[in-house]
């Protein structure tokens, strides 16, 4: 037999050689018979069939297989398999394949059959055929073969016998210990058969599911879940895993997605294509519909570089910081379809998630203690639609004191982010106070971060916890200055020194990222905005501040680069006032309410702060400057106009028009004095009703453009300045009072029309209160 089969191989080779030769000669080939292979059905009856070899699988216990003449189903011998115990140093499992050196033609059979029993009831992991230690093109696997102590016949249907014209893989098996324990099973009478009693072939790809997924050009998607199901002679269905080569795959649009004979789909171009398959004549259940948007859409530039101080950061993933160890950025949890790719954008490392439904990010081996942190930050970029209701969700999980999952001490919270925070095609910073994760009652053993939502494609960068105002920032060490205003002149919003408006909400949810808290500073309650982007204050009731003159607040920040305060009346009508930041210690700011025009001061409903950084605030109140006021403590700013372009009336910085009378007797009540303020001579009108100024000579200022003056008043509620030419022709200009410190105004001379600018003879001030004036001059 052996000699004969070798001969037939030689003959076969000869035929092939002949065949190739004659093709080029275009001779008629019809007379040539196709090569044939032996149709031997027997694999193991009482010993190895002709040409059968055995090879153990790598890592298996190579001595697991033996021929047993004691225990057998029929005849004189069976195959015995001794499955090792767990931890057997000779190998962890029993496994191997029986293959022939000469291929066999098995196309006339419809099943591999064998008898099996075991030393105990057990489930053998896999038994099959088609494993030739090579391409194993027609691998066919029966998974989970339940055996017991009785001999039973097993049938492995051949998915498509017509394919098996040259098969070398006759039989294979693989089985590990059951519950850590080894055992023995026997297999006998292994043979291919033409049963005829196998019926109702059904095939499936993707386990019969109709999958719909997105992909991008160049992406390769192997189609798995290939099965063939037959009804056995017992009326029961048997499903085997079948190699792709049994199937014929078809793409509905090969210009969008091509599919190889091995069922690997390659995305060619944008569009939608559906991949289906046949097993022989049978349409396989299941399909893959894949839609490609073409080339991958990704960010053109890196995420913004974080600015938090490294001292106050626990970073999970950021090139700007040292990162803590993370077990995995994709736990591959069941039902998660997320794929992770590590990419770089302009040299910056970025995590790219594709097909993201949810992804687990785990750091359980070394949990993160974020107790001292105030915020969680990550930057994301998505090409996907972000219009409502699309959401991106961030779940933080703390494993509790036991540091392991469950145990009753876990806590977690998920936040959902939507448009307008979410944006398509641009980096978005998700920067949230940890206090917003209200269900996360502990954060000393953070172990998981789970990202999910409606965005299948998300690029992630700069994932870190930080302490706002952290690093070198420690906040004020002294309390804000204690206000001295008479409580009768004050409507207080936030101060320990006054009765505050009742019912004010200092942290209404306007979608802000700011964390609001109230902290004691040297024993004084202080309002803290950490990580300000914007922050509202909802007054407990509508507030009439029309009788007030100023808004006062004390502010402290060492890391803010922009800060504005807004008053808001219904409409909403809102107006900002820019504050100078960062401050050097506590800054007391007194803002004339007139600067919030057009806000309705009789009906103030809200405050708003806009800017960045960490802001300490105190003593927020409206007040009415009472009569008498106080004097400026600093000199008026020294003007810096070129003296060649100046006609000065009252200034230490220039030569003044000679001979002017600062206090002509026009019947006024005003007391006029000149006082030094911080060493600088200043004109003071006390108890102003009106006050004239007679120039020493008529002045032609038509070559000038602007009237400049510096004024300071704590208690004036009205102030106008007039220019006067002969006639008299006079025109007023209203000045904003009271002032917050020195006010410098530059008034276009056109504002004084129809005054004759070639012939200015007098100035006049009208109003009330005590007014400090300096640097009254024309300039060009």
């Amino acid at each position: 037999m052996k000699n004969r089969s070798q001969k037939s191989i030689a003959f076969t080779l000869l035929v092939f050689v002949t065949l190739f030769t004659v093709v080029s000669c275009k001779r008629d080939l019809d007379d040539l018979e196709p090569a044939t292979f032996p149709t031997t059905a027997e694999v193991f009856i009482d010993g190895f069939s002709a040409g059968l070899n055995y090879g153990a699988f790598g890592g298996s216990k190579v001595t697991a297989f033996d021929v047993d003449t004691e225990e057998k189903y029929k005849g004189s011998a069976s195959m015995k398999f001794a499955v090792p115990d767990a931890g057997d140093p000779q190998g962890a499992y029993a496994g191997g394949a029986y293959f022939t050196s000469t291929a066999r033609d098995l196309s006339g059979y419809d099943a591999l059959t064998f008898w099996a029993k075991a030393s105990k009831a057990a489930t053998i992991d896999v038994i099959g055929f088609g494993n030739d230690f090579g391409e194993s093109k027609y691998l066919t696997v029966l998974n989970g073969v339940a055996v017991n102590t009785n001999w039973q016949k097993f049938i492995i249907p051949i998915p498509d016998p017509s394919k098996l014209t040259q098969e070398r893989g006759m039989f294979f098996y693989s089985e590990g210990p059951e519950d850590g324990l080894g055992y023995t099973f026997w297999i006998d009478e292994v043979t291919f058969e033409k049963l005829g009693t196998i019926a109702h072939p059904r095939a499936a790809i993707l386990l019969g599911q109709d999958q719909v997924i997105g992909a991008e050009t160049g992406q390769q998607l192997p189609i798995g879940g290939l099965t063939a199901t037959f009804n056995l002679p017992t009326g029961v269905d048997q499903t085997v895993s079948a190699a792709p080569s049994y199937f014929t795959f078809t793409s509905s649009d090969p210009s969008v997605a091509s599919v190889s004979s091995l069922g690997v789909v390659t995305m060619v171009d944008a569009g939608t294509a559906t991949i289906t398959a046949k097993l022989g004549d049978q349409d396989a259940a299941g399909s893959l519909t894949v839609t490609s948007t073409g080339q991958a859409m990704g960010p053109q530039g890196p995420a913004p570089t974080p600015t938090a101080s490294p001292d106050s950061v626990i970073s999970m993933f950021c090139n700007a910081y040292n990162n803590v160890p993370i077990d995995t950025w994709n736990t591959g949890w069941q039902f998660s379809t997320a794929e992770l790719m590590e990419i770089q954008i302009a040299g910056d490392d970025v995590k790219r998630y594709r097909n993201l439904n949810f992804v687990g990010i785990e750091f359980a081996s070394q949990t993160i203690n974020a107790s001292a942190m105030t915020h969680f930050h990550l930057d994301i970029w998505t090409p996907d639609a972000t219009a409502l209701p699309a959401a991106f969700k961030v779940l933080l999980v703390d494993f509790g004191a036991n540091g392991v999952f469950d145990g009753g001490d876990d806590s977690s919270h998920e936040l959902s982010f939507t448009s307008p925070l979410l944006q398509t095609g641009q980096w978005v910073s998700i920067d949230v106070p940890l206090s917003n994760f209200t269900g996360l009652t502990n954060r000393a053993h953070l172990a998981q971060l789970v990202l999910s939502g409606d965005l299948p494609n998300v690029y992630v960068d700069n994932v870190y916890f930080y302490k706002s105002g952290g690093g070198t920032t420690t906040g004020p060490t002294v309390a804000a200055p204690t206000p001295t205003r008479n409580p009768a002149d004050v409507i207080s919003i936030f101060s320990d020194n006054y009765t505050n408006v009742a019912g004010t909400d200092f942290n209404p949810n306007w979608g802000q990222a700011t964390a609001v808290s109230q902290v004691p500073v040297a024993g004084n309650n202080t309002l803290l905005y950490s990580g300000l982007n914007y922050q509202g204050t909802q007054l407990g009731s509508n507030l009439d501040a029309s009788s007030m003159t100023h808004l006062h607040l004390d502010v402290w920040t060492n890391n803010s680069s922009a800060l504005s305060v807004f008053l808001i009346s219904p409409g909403p009508i809102e107006a900002p006032s820019v504050l100078t930041v960062p401050t050097s210690g506590w800054a007391s700011v007194d803002i004339p309410l007139s600067s919030f025009s057009p806000v309705d001061l009789a009906n103030i409903i809200q405050f708003k702060f806009d800017g960045n950084g960490d802001i300490y605030l105190d003593n927020i109140y409206f007040y009415k400057s009472s009569g008498g006021g106080t004097a400026p403590t600093t000199a008026a700013p020294t003007p810096s106009f070129n003296s060649a372009n100046v006609i000065s009336v009252f200034s230490d910085a220039y030569t003044n028009v000679a001979g002017s009378d600062l206090n002509p007797n026009w019947g006024q009540a005003t007391v006029v004095t000149q006082e030094p303020v911080a060493g600088n001579n200043t004109l003071v009108y006390t108890g102003l009703n009106y006050q004239g100024l007679q120039l020493g000579s008529n002045q032609n200022v038509s070559g000038m453009t602007t009237l400049h003056l510096d004024f300071w008043t704590a208690n004036s509620t009205a102030l106008k300045v007039f220019l006067i030419s002969p006639g008299p022709i006079e025109t007023p200009y209203t000045l904003t009072v009271p002032t917050s410190g020195w006010s410098s105004v530059d008034i276009p001379l056109t504002a004084f029309a129809p005054v004759d600018l070639t012939n200015i003879i007098q100035f006049k001030f009208e109003g009330d209160g005590k007014i400090y004036l300096d640097n009254i001059l024309f300039h060009n």
């Binding site: 033409k194 005829g196 019926a199 009804n231 002679p233 009326g235 029961v236 269905d237």
Partner: protein
Amino acid sequence: MKLKNLLLTASTISFALFFVFAGCQNDDNAIVKRNWQLVWEDDFNGNTGQSPDAARWIYDIGVGPGNDGWGNSELQYYTDAPENVSLDGAGNLAITARSESFGGRSFTSSRIKTKGLFQQAYGRFEARMKMPWGPGIWPAFWMLGSNIDEVQWPQCGEIDIMEYRGQQPNLVYGTLHGPGYSGGASITKGYGFENDRFDKDFHLFAVEWGEGYIDFFVDETLYQRLTPKDVPGEWVYDQPFYMILNVAVGGNYVGFPTPQTPFPQTMLVDYVKVYKEAN
């Protein structure tokens, strides 16, 4: 229960003794050439979903008059719904067993009969059918004596032209039940394929019945001839019988369906024809 088990065992043994495989014909059962004339037929031509012809068939509905699964502990509830019995539009009657809760049962199916519409003594009764499959599926083409309401079963006689168990898709059985030889003691014989099954394609099941004999056929192969001397009781087959087609689920004869039994399961009937021997 014990009695029933015993009976089942006895009948199993008799199958083992008596069933024959195709190609092993008994020379004693030579087919006598007869001149059959068609007297009744239903070719089940019609539109998909159409109910069987009311002039030819009536329904057995429910779980049996004794509320006992038609005397066999069958598990199905028989309905007349098109989902259980209707034409398939391709020239066949489809009787479909479904796994669905109805009428207190876990399965539905259908059973139709010619009782009161057509009955005949003697002749050739045949049906061309394709079987369902799966453990616990029990289709049948059979006849009962028309006097069943007067004399009760088994005195009326029962001729099972074809019975089949879904867990043995290569075997069918022909059986007589009569007084003194009913249930597990019935006179029966199996016919089997060695390399084929009755659910892969249509096959013709028939009896040829005359005075003193009943011959059982599969695809024109005679595999059993029963005569009065073969039955241990009265020969009650000289009176009119009516025909029944049904698909039972579970029951004493077939056993329970298993989680591996695929549902729904459909028996297709291409045609039923009845002949009388021409003189």
